[in-house]
């Protein structure tokens, strides 16, 4: 009897296995992102739950986002696209989109609506969706300083203080690109955040920004890689450093670095997904995207890194840091107490004027 049962059990197990194998061959998705803490947060918030729900899928992380544009173009030109999904900045996405090497996105058809039924195109924060781009997070470039570098009663608190070497002496670590630096120069020079790009698209505005940067030029160390900024602060090499708010959060809250973030004039930008055209598993990628960009999943990512979810409906679901137990909401760039004077990065502006301004900036650095 028991042996018969066993037999039935075995045969049914075999047939179930055979069935599921026929329906779902194991597949692997190659997902390209920025590496480090950022990829780790995606792994825990998106990849692991998705793989749990779809046991036949294995997700392989590739830390290639920094050079994703060049690789995507090379793959498209070679006719051998191996990446399934890529995490990139919207300005890069716009370039890739213009080149036709990534897919156009129909946001409402491809992405989940908010729990209350608001369609995706209205749920994602205004201005964040791109022709080929699905935002995940809001991050910002913030000014950070070392409290120990200044007397207790004269701590810096604004972008204007970055440009005030008399009252706030010390070296400043800035990123070696015109973005953020030119915006801040104008902001510190009295331009309203709303008008910055209008001013910057005139030659006089550019001159004005560089003139302001000239005032601190001798005090600047330029950094290239994101990890350098917190390092320079931690080593006491500089008094101020610009950096991505997530890395700064990590350095301050997780590593215990003695530094404070100045949210004034934070330069806000999106980061998100693009789908390479002619990728190997397009259908599955769409399934993944639908899952990984819904309201709950975006809110989940904020448990692991201090970047704000790109959906309005996710904001209320942001909870505590999964390991530290810190309440994450106040560390979000979009938290009301931090979002008092944001400069929203204008990607169209940078795609249009970036080449020219980078040349001008490189020339300025060389002088």
């Amino acid at each position: 009897m028991s042996s018969k049962l066993k037999l039935i059990g075995l045969s049914s197990a075999v047939s179930v296995l055979a069935l599921s194998a026929a329906a779902q061959d194991p597949v692997s998705l190659t997902i390209v992102s920025w590496g480090g803490a950022y990829t780790a947060s995606q792994q825990r918030a998106y990849h692991e739950p998705f793989m749990e729900a779809n046991p036949h899928v294995t997700i392989i992380n590739d830390d290639g986002s920094a050079n994703a544009l060049a690789s995507l173009r090379a793959q498209a030109q070679a006719g051998n696209v191996t990446w399934d999904l890529v995490d990139m900045l919207p300005s890069d996405a716009q370039l890739a989109c213009d080149e036709g090497i990534i897919l156009q996105i129909d946001h409402d058809a491809m992405l989940a609506a908010a729990p209350d039924g608001t369609p995706a195109s209205e749920d994602f924060l205004p201005g964040s969706l791109g022709e080929c781009f699905i935002p995940q997070i809001v991050y910002s470039t913030v000014l950070t300083y070392r409290p120990g570098a200044f007397p207790d009663d004269a701590q810096p608190s604004s972008i204007a203080d970055l440009f005030d070497v008399e009252n706030f002496p010390g070296r400043r670590a800035l990123q070696d690109r015109p973005g953020t630096n030119l915006e801040w120069a104008l902001y510190a020079d009295g331009v309203d955040p709303e008008d910055i790009y209008e001013v910057l698209s005139t030659p006089e505005g550019v001159d004005r920004a560089f003139a302001k940067l000239d005032t601190i030029k001798d005090h600047i160390i330029f950094w290239t890689e994101g990890a350098q900024a917190p390092q320079l602060l931690a080593d006491g090499e500089v008094a101020f450093a610009t950096g991505y708010n997530g890395r700064m959060f990590d350095a301050i809250e997780v590593e215990g670095m003695d530094a404070d973030i100045i949210w004034d004039g934070q330069v806000v930008e999106w980061d998100g997904w693009v789908v390479p055209a002619d990728g190997p598993n397009e259908e599955l990628v769409m399934e993944y995207l639908y899952f990984a960009t819904d309201t709950q999943r975006l809110a989940d990512q904020a448990k692991f890194i201090s970047y704000g979810p790109a959906r309005a409906s996710s904001a209320g679901l942001v909870g505590e840091h999964a390991d530290l137990g810190i309440d994450m909401a106040p560390h979000m760039p979009t938290a009301p107490e931090n979002y008092f004077a944001p400069i929203v990065l204008d990607n169209d502006f940078w795609v249009d004027y970036g080449d020219e301004l980078r040349e001008r900036f490189a020339n300025w650095m060389l002088q």
Binding site: N67, A70, E99, G100, D278, D352, A362
Partner: protein, 435 residues
Amino acid sequence: MAIQSATSEEGAIGTATDSRGRLVTSDGTPLRRALERANRRRKLTALALVAPLLAFILIFFAFPIAQMMWRSVDNPQIVNALPRTLVALEDWDGQGVPDEPVFAALHADMMEDLDRPRREQAIGPLGIRLNYELSAARSAISRTARSVPNFEEPYRDAFTDAHRLWGQPELWQIIKREGRPLTLSYYVAALDREYDADGNIVKRPENRQIYVSLFGRTLALSVAITFMTFILGFPIAYYLSTLPMRYANLLMIAVLLPFWTSLLVRTSAWIVLLQQQGVINNALVGMGFIGDDGRFSLIYNQTGTIIAMTHILLPFMVLPLYSVMRTIPPSYMRAAKSLGARPWTAFRRVYFPQTLPGIGAGGVLVFIISIGYYITPALVGGQSGRMISNEIARHIQQSLNWGLAAALGTMLLVGVLVLYWLYNRLVGADSLKLG
């Protein structure tokens, strides 16, 4: 006597002839053919031995370089996107804004392009290409393309209303000038020059010139680094060459150690040592040589680049020097001294000239490697210690302007070849001795 007869016998075999008086080998084949066959076999063997490497070099070295050089002049974007417009522009005199027929042709070109599948649309690349020449041209193209289906005649007004750039002669001059399958504009840009309204090549505004001075700096830094490795490498190579083999090998390992450490680890080590709050500055302050506010800036500037790269490239100088010095018999110096030369004269006139092949080889190696270096300068060079490769990498990876990157890369390649040619003319490449 017996030996003599043996040789004469061999001679008889070697000079055997066939019926027609031709030289033959022992099996009767004509000697000439046998030699040819042997020669051919030897050549085939040689080819077979070389073939894998040759194929490798062709596929992974020569072909990509040729492709890179091709990219620096390749200019398909405008020709692909605007065939009708270019024909219509042939009659335009280059002054003012073109007339209605040109705009009608532009409309027709864009309409046709919008019908193509996304991957084959030429409008996107067109915008990116034009933006290299004129800022905001990309958004002029992409914004217009979105509303083109709704345009009505007269198209000239429709286009100029859609974006201000369509009403600027500059954009049209660029379209006409660059509407050819090949272009020199990447080289023009790489030489800090641009076209003026009349199509003449003129210098760029001063505040946008970067590449020429960057080439100059790259050259100067590379020379400085080569010189530093020579100054530091010569004595150690000399000392190594005088030691018994087993000590020399041990010390050689110490010289080679940097080779075996990851580049990033080494560079990070330099950061720890050289920064203002770093080990060296702290030690100097601690010993009272400098005040706390007089700390040296040893990193994030040219000094940092020179120090870090000298360290990394030192083995490339020491190895050829050592292998050359090892072959110089010590007796030469003794002979010179015994003939009355003072040590310095003996060194200068007898020893040093014999090390020249090693200096040449080491110098060429270090110089050529350092001219193309980019990770170390990017990490420790700050704004003043950057090199041309950093700009090339940026154009490849970030701005995606591969044409300009290719032009810069080709110029760098040609520059290195010219320098090598000069070296060959002045010193002679056959005197290089790598081991």
